[in-house]
């Protein structure tokens, strides 16, 4: 089986098709054989709340560069071996992965913090716009107050 090759120490991607979680994490694990621990988070489209489909729009000149800067911030802030920051764009359905984040570190708490940090920023500071199609049509989603509060923990 051809193995997925990741960029180290930061593999940052915008993906317009499904995230293969098992393959991605197996590759990430293999890329950091010296790490004591790997923390990951997968965010998925929730099938509740009457959501039929979800669409994420990005802006090419800003979105991926912004995600790269964010990954670099995490690498600077904690002693990490590497990170993975993948975000879906386009149309997706309930149950599909939207975002996959991973951090490899010598100590588990650093890996946890980095993943938590990356998710808080992706939620409220990455150049992505989300809308959901419900029974009554499309609705744009804005970060909740909680999302800003989560992000401000890192200030």
């Amino acid at each position: 089986m051809a193995r997925l090759t990741l960029e180290t120490p930061a593999d940052v991607r915008l993906l317009d098709s499904g995230i293969s979680v098992g393959e991605a994490l197996a590759a990430f694990n293999a890329a950091y054989p010296d790490a004591g621990g790997i923390a990951t988070f997968l965010g998925k489209v929730r099938p509740d709340e009457d959501v039929r489909v979800l669409e994420l729009t990005h802006y090419d000149p800003l979105t991926l560069p912004g995600m790269r800067e964010l990954a670099d911030k995490a690498l600077t802030r904690w002693p990490l071996d590497g990170v993975l920051v993948w975000h879906r764009i386009g149309v997706m359905h309930p149950g599909e992965g939207i975002v996959l984040v991973a951090a490899a570190a010598r100590h588990r708490r650093d890996a946890f913090h980095a993943v938590d940090f990356l998710m808080d920023y992706l939620k409220s500071a990455a150049w992505l716009w989300k809308r959901e199609k419900r029974a009554d049509g499309w609705h744009w989603i804005e970060p909740r107050a909680q999302d800003f509060a989560d992000r401000n923990r890192w200030a």
Partner: protein, 80 residues
């Protein structure tokens, strides 16, 4: 001699189009005058940002887009 203005996210719905061409050069007052009043009202909100030529302006009133440059109007984001 024109500037391309992109309406991102919910601003696209408000503008009714994904993008528009306006005469160059284009500054902040010119932009506010060129777009619809509804879009202009949103642009005045501090949480709406403006990028020019791939860089987000720290003060959007400093906009000075030249011929051929792309201006992006960036409403509040929501990823993850």
């Amino acid at each position: 001699m024109s500037v391309t203005v992109l309406f991102l996210g919910p601003l696209r719905d408000l503008a009714g189009v994904p993008q528009a061409e306006y005469p160059a050069p284009l500054d902040w007052d010119g932009l506010l005058a060129a777009v619809s009043p509804a879009v202009a009202e949103q642009l005045r909100e501090p949480r709406v940002h403006v990028a020019c030529a791939g860089r987000v302006l720290s003060d959007k009133a400093d906009l000075a887009a030249q011929d051929g440059e792309e201006v992006a109007l960036l409403p509040p984001v929501s990823g993850g």
